[in-house]
Amino acid sequence: MAEPLRICVVDDEKIVCERLKPILEKGGFSVETYIESALALKRLSETTFDILITDIKMGQPDGIELLRYAKVHSPSIRVIIITGFATAETAREAMKSGAADFIAKPFRLSQLTDLVMQLAQQIRESASSG
């Protein structure tokens, strides 16, 4: 059986990490969660994840900074931005910086898992074609 895909979840609201971890693990992924974005940044520098799911409005670094760093360090990483501020501007900024998609709180868990499953499919397809 193939190694499970690796997902990093970063949100300073503990409940986001606590709820997403078991749900994504149930979907067959290996999941690490961080409520401190600085620790997540350190971890991103040490290892490679397939998908990063991050809140946008956090302390230093914020979600956009994390996204930019992740894309430089690991260009193939897929990033989903979560935010409570569903404005067109933040969405545009996130997408311009290389986010694969954007989701506004509160959201249905199935919306996020559907999104993750689509990205996982893309990752597996590009791995088999590459």
């Binding site: 059986m1 409940i15 986001v16 709820r19 693990e25 149930k26 409570g84 959201f107 868990l109």
Partner: protein, 854 residues
């Protein structure tokens, strides 16, 4: 006074359509905000189903939005009624302060009596009675298992006592005087312990406790004694204070007040203080409720774990048992019997270890408990029979299923056949490494998928059971324990069956409907609006419902069920879910239901739901009560309807002038430019809907109509208020007084499905309350069958239908028109209960179909 009244009436009579239109504009705003509050509450309630991810910001915004809408409703009401309800502002302010306290994480002690009987509490009472007693009450009240009779001395009583003892001030001083600002736990215990023991109970509180004890003593007879048990707010819930606070056992009736103080003092014992500090919990908001339950005359007692904590994958429950009282098991100071019981019915005994039991605890004749020798004959024999263990296991698994986590349960056996439950709390079990996601995927791959991705998850969770197809007419006893209920409609009638279900699936239904709310409240997984469940799920088939992935598997997927039990914590126990639940407990309950009740006053509004209910009622009462717009009917916006039978109805257009024909004072139904009004009137004038023949009334009904208390006796005296419809192209507000009963319809119908709604209120009648209630019941069944959510209280009914497509709502309005005509004098005929079903049948299957346009 009389001259003032005459002046007032005169002022009102000369009110112009222009002034009325202004007020109606504000009334529409009131309705908008009223509906917004209801929608926000419904939306928040839906979030508790677990299918959404939300954070504290969402709850803060919700509290703010509700506050904003409720304040507008209060302002609008006072504008409409010319400041006749200023008291509502004070009630609103009080609620706002309580919400502020909640959001600031201060424990908001509800305004409850000092004493609550245990039969009256459930998990909604946790802020009054503490988690431990709330959970015990829930086991008795919702699951119908035996619990000891008794009462709870509430958090409100604690507040009263702590104010008398000036506890908050003493805690502050204690910390301020300590050089390091952090006295040792022993210092806190000693200082506050002294304060509590030297403070006399306030007289009103002491009397309330003595009265409650006396009620119990009268019921139980002489010789009764009590277990006085801690139930701190948060205990057994968010924080596990297991064993940190004291319980006093076998307390004689006259010792209860002193035992109460002893248990309250244990809130500040050194162990509890240390525990709070390690968990970062401040001391000040600590609040203690105290349970006072009758001691069980236990022949044996024990503890049960619904899973083996050391080997959770084994499908067994662990039961320990000892003769007499259970203290030995809890203390672990002597040998006890130990059984492993299969979790699968019929719950066979997998293994048994029978100990040589030398000593046991008994109730001492002088009060308290003492150790005695176990009689020789009982020492080496099992404490309990296999049949009793099977009954205990079955009940414990039901509690586990209800609580959505493995449970640690204290039980006792007395002379009765069924166990008595003393306490139940979550059992902490570490998930085993091998239960990984990969295993789950392999496990589910072996089971055929019966349904996937259809409809909406309305209450998250995983469950297993046998499919039972239902239509809402079944009685609770017809439903086997743990059934997966599958129904065509999300009828509110199913609500009473949910307590026995392991899951609920429907073809049609909304996440904000009554049934969805009940499944969330009872934590029963549910999926609604699947469209096809009743076609693909056959009765009797065993299924596993994964209401997380929205998938139903054939058979029992053990791995999924174990995964659900072993999750470290349920999302329902997270801080955000607890806060949202608490917020809804303050904001959502409706206490003011019946406008005829003398408690229906602004001062008695305890929730925002009450505020909007009160405002709506009073605004309508004012707007429809006593307008004389006769001279205005010639205006471009006002007409009398010509319905071709004796019903006066004035219509006022608040929309575009083109919605009414120009000229004249009368108007035909076909000339009305408003779809909702036209549809409703088409129903009223449908062939046969409006029989103008007088109904024969027997003498009893006649006398009742003359002397009985009619629903509308509180209506303004004098001439009845005019029948009035206020409308625009998409909006309708109709108030119809038909002799002795009152119909109100408020509807908005557009192409935007989410904005659409119908509210229908009905009350009163000319006969006695039994017949009026039968008619209201009949109407409620008809409406529920037509997808309405209905609240019924005697002959007062409120029905709501929301977020349906425009053509459906217009048809429902036509149906309501028919129903208004059909049921107009029906209460006179409702002599027997069987006529309710006959009426439903006749209306839906015969009358309504025949009256429909072909």
């Amino acid at each position: 006074m009389l001259s003032w009244l005459r002046r007032f009436r005169k002022t009102r009579k000369t009110q112009s359509v222009a002034s009325l239109r202004l007020k109606i504009e504000r009334f529409r705003e009131l309705l908008r905000e009223n509906n917004r509050v209801l929608d926000l509450i419904a939306d928040a309630d839906e979030k508790l189903g677990g299918d959404f991810l939300f954070d504290t910001a969402f709850i803060t915004d919700l509290a703010h939005d509700l506050e904003d809408s409720a304040s507008r409703v209060v302002r609008d009401l006072n504008f409409i009624t010319e400041n006749r309800h200023l008291a509502l502002s004070s009630a609103y302010d009080k609620i706002r302060v309580r919400v502020g306290d909640l959001m600031a994480a201060r424990i908001a002690v509800p305004n409850a009596p000092y004493i609550l009987p245990i039969e009256s509490v459930d998990c909604d009472s946790a802020d009054s009675v503490g988690e431990k007693m709330a959970c015990l009450g829930e086991i008795g009240r919702r699951l119908h298992f035996r619990i000891p009779p008794g009462f709870i001395i509430t958090s409100q009583a604690f507040k009263r006592f702590s104010e008398r003892a000036r506890l908050e001030e003493k805690i502050r001083l204690l910390y301020a005087r300590d050089p390091g600002g952090m006295p040792t736990p022993s210092e806190v215990e000693s200082s506050l312990g002294k304060t509590i023991s030297s403070t006399r109970l306030p007289e009103d509180l002491r009397k309330a406790i003595v009265r409650a004890v006396s009620v119990q003593t009268k019921r139980a007879g002489k010789g009764v004694s009590f277990a006085v048990r801690s139930s701190a707010l948060g205990e057994d819930g968010e924080l596990s204070f297991a064993g940190l606070h004291d319980s006093v056992l076998a307390v004689k009736p006259d010792g209860v007040p002193a035992a109460y103080k002893e248990v309250v003092a244990s809130l500040f014992n050194a162990r509890a203080i240390s525990y709070r500090r390690t968990r970062g919990e401040p001391l000040e908001p600590a609040v203690m409720a105290v349970g006072c339950v009758q001691m069980v005359a236990a022949t044996c007692s024990g503890v049960l774990y619904t899973l083996d904590p050391n080997a959770p994958e084994r499908d067994v429950l662990v039961v320990t048992a000892t003769p007499g009282l259970g203290k030995i098991v809890v203390e672990g100071t002597a040998s006890v019997d130990r059984f492993l019981v299969s979790r699968v019915p019929p719950h066979r005994i997998v293994s048994r270890e029978i100990a040589d039991k030398e000593t046991m605890y008994e109730i001492a004749p002088e009060g308290g408990i003492h150790l005695v020798q176990v009689p020789e004959a009982r020492r080496k024999t099992p404490c309990v029979s296999d049949d009793f263990l099977a009954a205990l296991a079955s009940a414990a698994l039901r509690i586990e299923q209800y609580s959505k986590s493995p449970q640690d349960i204290e039980w006792a056996k007395d002379a009765g056949a069924e166990p008595v439950f003393l306490q139940s709390r979550p059992l902490h079990v570490r998930p085993e490494a091998e239960h990984t996601a990969v295993n789950l995927r392999t496990a589910v791959a072996n089971h055929p998928v019966l349904l996937s991705g259809h409809g909406t998850v309305t209450s998250r969770g995983i469950a297993y059971g046998q499919v039972v197809l239902v239509n809402g007419r079944e009685k609770l006893e017809d439903i086997p324990e743990g059934a997966v209920l599958v129904a065509r409609f999300s009828s509110p009638h199913l609500a009473e069956l949910v307590s026995k279900a392991s899951a609920v699936i429907t073809d049609i239904g909304s996440p904000t409907g009554h049934l969805a709310t009940i499944t969330r409240e009872l934590r029963v997984p549910s999926i609604m609006d699947t469209g096809i469940a009743t076609q693909v799920l056959a009765g009797g088939v065993e299924v596993t419902v994964d209401a997380e992935e929205n998938t139903i598997y054939q058979g029992k997927v053990d791995e999924l069920l174990l995964y659900q039990l072993l999750r470290r914590s349920s999302y329902q126990d997270s801080a955000e879910f607890r806060l949202l639940r608490r917020l809804l407990r303050v904001l959502a309950p409706l206490h003011l239901r019946n406008p005829r009740d003398r408690n229906f006053t602004a001062d008695n509004c305890e929730s925002y739901h009450d505020v909007i209910r009160f405002a709506h009622e009073k605004a309508v009462e004012y707007l429809v009560g006593g307008h004389d717009l006769g001279p205005e009917t010639g205006s471009a916006y006002c007409r009398n309807m010509n319905l071709h039978f004796p019903l006066d109805l004035m219509v006022i257009n608040i929309g575009d002038v083109s919605l009414l024909p120009s000229g004249g004072t009368e108007c035909e139904v076909g000339q009305i430019g408003s779809e909702p009004l036209r549809s409703l009137l088409e129903g009223i004038i449908a062939p046969g809907a409006w029989s103008s023949e007088p109904t024969n009334m027997d003498f009893k009904s006649f006398m009742s109509s003359v002397t009985g208390r009619s629903a509308l006796e509180t209506a303004p005296s004098g001439a009845p208020p005019p029948n009035l419809a206020i409308f625009s192209d998409r909006y309708l507000n109709l108030n119809l007084f038909l002799g002795y009963h009152y119909n109100q319809v408020d509807a908005y119908v557009s192409d935007v499905r989410n904005d659409n709604y119908i509210y229908f209120r009905f009350m009163g009648g000319m006969t006695n309350i039994a017949r009026r209630s039968r008619r209201a019941k009949m109407i409620s069944i008809i409406l529920e069958k037509q997808d309405f959510a209905v609240d019924l209280l005697g002959d007062f009914l409120v029905a709501r239908l929301k977020k349906f497509e425009r053509p459906i709502l217009l048809e429902r309005l036509r149906m309501i028109g028919c129903l208004i005509g059909y049921t107009r004098q029906l209460d006179v005929k409702m002599r027997r209960d069987t006529m309710i079903d006959e009426g439903v049948e006749d209306f839906l299957n015969s009358f309504y179909i025949q009256s429909s346009p072909t």
